[in-house]
Structure formats: structure tokens, C-alpha cells
Amino acid sequence: MQPTLYRQMLRARSFELAVAELWRQGRISGEMHLGTGEEAVVAGVVTQLRDGDGLALAHRCAPPLVVRGVPLLPILRELLGKPDGLGGGRGGHMHLFSRAHLAGSSGIVGASLPMGAGLALAAARLRPGAIAVAFVGEGALNQGMALETLNLAAVWRLPLLVVCIDNDWSIVTRSSAVSAGTPLARASAFGWRTASVDGTDAETVYAEAGRMIDELRASRTPGPAFLLATCPRLDGHFLGDPLIRASHRPHEDGRQLIGEVVASVGQDGGGWLDRAKGMLRLAGVMARARAGADRESARDPVRRAREAMTGNTDTRDRIEAEVGQEIAGALEAALADDAAGSDA
């Protein structure tokens, strides 16, 4: 295990655990999507970026920025809505931008693909050897502009690496239930070079992404590459995800939902089979949500990386101490003017 990869994964995870705490305290508003579970993918890819490379992100945008080296304080300050945040406190969690790192995000599903294609075009024209990376969810591959970009980036032969993080979730729907064919088949149909990796294994991601990135850098008109990485979604769609709450504590948070469903089934409409299917589907989705969100799971990439460091406990301990300090320091600085409470 490369210590850098573990360090970066831990930085991303620790940063987001801090964010989750800020969210719980009511200091962060709106839909806070974490990337917990994606750290191996993020670290394996983003550690390979250089100055002049572009980075296009979706709604789980903090971890890649953390790994990319964007200072933590302005990210935190943005999440807190402060004037010295990345976007002056006016952007927010789905709109983290760092011009210095040519990195942008979007809360519109699918938008990271055209953005990435554009960053790749600029790289090709202005900074030969530079590339762009776009992260996208598997659910977003059903969005028109994303599919269009599968064509556009190919015919323009752009130095673009698309990293598709496949957690098989689109909010509370299994993506596979609303998606035909596989992401890889789609990318292949548009002539992309493709590969798929276990997205909980940072070393593998690093190797496969590295190979693709090298190819992209080597040619003037390489044409794009597509890396599919499967990994879990450890904290639901966003913090406070009702499905997670309902499935973890069905007698509390799930009560209302289930009660309504049962009441509704008692009424007219739909055949018996349809109704039964409805109940079963609900139950199934909740069970999967419960399983997927298991932090103790062997699929937790940070846990896995930590285990891979057992041969090197000194380094591991040092990294953990340093990262802990870094995040604590950033958090303290971020809250310095705000010790009093959760008021803005």
C-alpha cells in the first residue's frame, strides 16, 4: 500500500466526518452529499493530477478537492457559508470551485461530463500533455448531456478520463433498475477505451487510472478513456437520508412511511399483485440501503486500506496522527469566529 494513498483516503474520510458533525450541529444547510465509500477511487485517480489538468465534479465534490490539494479552510468556510469560503459562502456544497486547480463542480446530474470535456479541450489546445478528469455517478449516465459527451469527447479525441463511480444508487432507486445495458457497454459503443476496477482497492484504481492517464498524456489526440469503479455508498444519498434512517431504525423514522403505505394499500386501485409487488419493493430497497450503509463492512475502502498498511504500522500511525491534526486544525480555524453556536 502506497502510504500516500492511505494518507489521502484518510484525509478525505476525516474531512467528511468533520463535515458530517458540522451538519449535525446545524451549521451546514441543504443537501450535504458525502463521498464516504469513494475514497479509494478518489485517491487512486486524483493523486495523479498535475498543474494544468482539469477536474470536473458532481455533487460529492469535497473529497477530490481535498485530495487535489485545495486548502481545507476555504472549503470548510464555504460549507459554513462564510465570506472567505471558496465561493464567498454563496456557492455551497454542490458548487465548490478552485480556479487554481482548474476544478469545478455541479449539482446538476450529468453536468460534470460536458464540463470535463471542455476542460480537456482547453488542456489540448493550451497545455499539451495536460488532461482533464471528470467524476460521474452511474445514475448520471442516463442524463442526455452525459450521453452526448460520450460522443463529443470521442469525435473530438479529447484527453479526458471519465471516472464513473458505480454505487448502484440514484438517491433511493437502484440505478440498475432504471438503466439498460452497462456503463462499460455504453462507453465502448462510442469507441472509448474502457476498464473496470474494484473501487474499494486504491492500489488497483491507481494502477489502472495511471495507465489510462499516461496514454492520454502521450498523444496529441488520444480520445477519451472510461474507468468504471464500483464502491459502496456509506452514508446514504445525503446526510439525513430518510431511507437510511428508516431502515436503521424502522420503528422510529420508518414508522410514518410504512404506516402511510399500509393505509394506502387498503384503498381501491391497482390489482392485488401490484400492491404486493409494491410492498416487496419497498422492503427490498430498505434492506439494501441497510446493508450498503454498513460502516463495518469489508467494503469500506478506508478500512481496507488501513488493513493493507498493517505491514507498516509506524507510517500508518504517523499518517493517522498527522491527518487527525490537520483536520482538527482546519476545523478549529474554520470555527474560530463561530465558537458561540450554530448561528450564521
Binding site: 444547510s29 455541479s106 442526455g144 432504471v178 412511511l257 409494491g278
Partner: protein
């Protein structure tokens, strides 16, 4: 000014849900289409099954376009968007297809699609998730644009209708998108919006404004959250001796010209309160409406001027709030008419 989000028994969103459930039970041609629809509308899914409550991929352009085609084929689709902001990726289906059916078919082929779209900010979700956009939608000939004072009417309608559901007035959306089980956040939710003024489930004609409060000194015209803010402002103003007429337009297309003109004729002063963008929107249109009627009121508007900021305090300041409304009304009242 901030208070805890209430969780009342029967809310705004639930009233629409109930109207939809009734309509679906009555009319088998109604299908409901939306991302996560089987989960978000679990009671309907369990009751009506997967053929009528259909999960959609994240493909707004395709499923809005398909809804138009399905309506041509004899169904009455209800399409749920997660937020009206996302209509931008499927805008063509509305602008160039649904809304143009009356002209292209010489009125022979209706397109009974109902789009239900949560709208607006106030819970700190940033500029891509807090827009209202009803101004640009109301500009489109052939489209009906309503705020759900009248869900039953919208469901019975034969043309494309977009029904906005201000998230701040919807306890369900606010819990889903904002609170997520927390008790550590607060929103400036008008209590009457989430409970008191629950939409009627019986049909009320479109294009009829509702006079929510009467007064002789100034007319305040608004829609959605703005109505509640205006009423609260009117309460304060009354204490200062300024009496306001407060109108809830309830639909923007059709737009109730008569009600606005009648009130402004009486008060000689018009204040438009709109949480949508200021320029080229509702506030402008109402300016034209009164001028066309030959009136020359004192006029002001309190709207959203720029992209909605994320920070909660900036957001609350950018959206029309009671302070800004009351201040503008005071300034108007001080001018002679």
C-alpha cells in the same frame, strides 16, 4: 423571525398527494412518472402498482418528451420533477412540444400533461436548487403555470400545466432536503403556508386571484411563499396605520388582470413581491398590466435580484422577506397617489 419547522397533520404537499390519489383512483389513464417515484410516492405505488407509478431514469428530457407523447396517445401523465431547476435539461419538451400542440394541431389534439415541480429556496441548498423560474415559464403561450392553490383543477386540465410546489411550504420536502432528521436547523416557514391555507381538493378555476386581506392604502400582489410574507408584513403595517390589500395570484398563466386592476384602482399603489428573478418576470408583467389598464400607481417590487446565495443569512436576505416588504410598502405609502 426564525422558527422551528412545524410538522402539521395535513400539509400543503399532502393535499396535492391526496388530490393525485383521488384522481388516479377515478381515472385509469393517469400515470405518475418520476425519478424515485415508487419510493417518494410509496403509498401511491403500493396502491396503484408499477404500471401506474413509474420509476424514471435521470433523463428529464426523455421522460418529459415521452409524457407529451403518452398524452398524445391517450394517457394523462403526471410528471414529477425533483426541482424546477432541473427543468432546464428537459425544457425543450415544454417549450417546443407540449406548449405548441394547440397551434400545431389547430386545437384538435390536447396534451394533458401535468408537471409537478418543487420550487424555491429558503433552506440553504444553493443557486442551482432554489430557483422559482415561473416568470420564464409564464411567458410561454400554450402553457398553464399554477401554484397549487388548485391541484384538482390542474389534474382535470386538458393542456400542459406546470404546478409549482414551494419547498418552503412543504414540510415533506423541507424534511427530505433540508432537515434530514435534525432539530438543529430552522427555516423561516410561514405557518399558514404549510397548514392553514391547504389547497382545496375540489376544482377552483385557474386565473382567479384570491384576496387574502383587504386594505385601502397599498396593493401587495404575490404568489407562493411571498403571499405569506406579504400577509405578515401587512400585519405589521396595519399596526402603523397602513392598510394593505394582499392578493394571491395562484396562477401566473392565466393571470388575473381584473383582480390586480381592481385593487390598484382602489389603493393607487402597487407592490409586487416575487421570489423569482426580478427582471423580465412577474413584477414587470404586473407593471404592464396596470399601465395597460390606464392606471398610474406608485409602484415598487421586492424580488430576487441575483443568483440565490447559499449562506442561509444571505439567502434569507436575498429572498423577499417581511422586512424588505414592509419597508417598500412604507415607502410607497408615504408617496401621494
Amino acid at each position: 423571525m426564525t422558527r422551528q419547522a412545524a410538522m402539521p397533520e395535513y400539509t400543503f404537499g399532502k393535499a396535492i398527494d391526496a388530490a393525485i390519489a383521488d384522481a388516479m383512483a377515478e381515472d385509469e389513464t393517469i400515470v405518475l412518472i418520476g425519478e424515485d417515484a415508487p419510493m417518494l410516492r410509496a403509498p401511491l405505488f403500493a396502491r396503484f402498482g408499477a404500471d401506474r407509478v413509474m420509476a424514471a431514469p435521470i433523463s428529464e428530457a426523455a421522460f418529459l418528451g415521452a409524457a407529451a407523447g403518452a398524452a398524445m396517445g391517450g394517457l394523462r401523465p403526471i410528471v414529477e420533477l425533483y426541482m424546477v431547476d432541473f427543468l432546464a435539461v428537459g425544457f425543450d419538451a415544454v417549450l417546443n412540444h407540449m406548449a405548441k400542440m394547440p397551434t400545431f394541431t389547430a386545437g384538435t389534439w390536447p396534451c394533458p400533461v401535468l408537471i409537478r415541480a418543487p420550487s424555491g429556496g429558503g433552506y440553504g441548498d444553493g443557486g442551482q436548487h432554489g430557483q422559482s423560474l415561473w416568470g420564464m415559464l409564464a411567458a410561454i403561450p400554450g402553457l398553464t403555470v399554477v401554484v397549487p392553490s388548485t391541484p384538482a383543477t390542474a389534474l382535470a386540465h386538458d393542456g400542459p400545466v406546470i404546478l409549482m410546489e414551494p419547498k418552503l411550504l412543504s414540510a415533506e420536502w423541507l424534511e427530505f432536503l433540508g432537515s434530514g432528521g435534525r432539530t438543529t436547523v430552522t427555516y423561516d416557514v410561514p405557518a399558514a403556508g404549510a397548514t392553514g391555507d391547504v389547497p382545496q381538493s375540489h376544482a377552483v378555476p385557474f386565473g382567479k386571484a384570491k384576496v387574502c386581506r383587504e386594505g385601502d392604502d397599498v396593493t401587495i400582489v404575490s404568489i407562493a411563499v411571498g403571499v405569506h410574507r406579504s400577509l405578515e408584513a401587512a400585519g405589521r403595517l396595519a399596526a402603523e396605520g397602513i392598510e394593505a390589500d394582499v392578493l394571491d395570484l395562484r396562477s401566473l398563466r392565466p393571470l388575473d388582470h381584473d383582480a390586480v386592476v381592481a385593487s390598484v384602482k382602489k389603493t393607487g399603489r402597487l407592490l409586487v413581491v416575487d421570489e423569482d428573478y426580478c427582471a423580465f418576470g412577474l413584477s414587470g408583467e404586473l407593471g404592464a398590466v396596470v399601465l395597460e389598464a390606464g392606471l398610474s400607481p406608485q409602484y415598487a417590487r421586492v424580488c430576487l435580484e441575483d443568483t440565490l446565495p447559499y449562506a442561509r443569512h444571505l439567502e434569507d436576505a436575498a429572498l423577499p422577506n417581511v422586512e424588505r416588504i414592509a419597508a417598500a410598502a412604507r415607502r410607497l405609502a408615504a408617496r401621494s397617489r
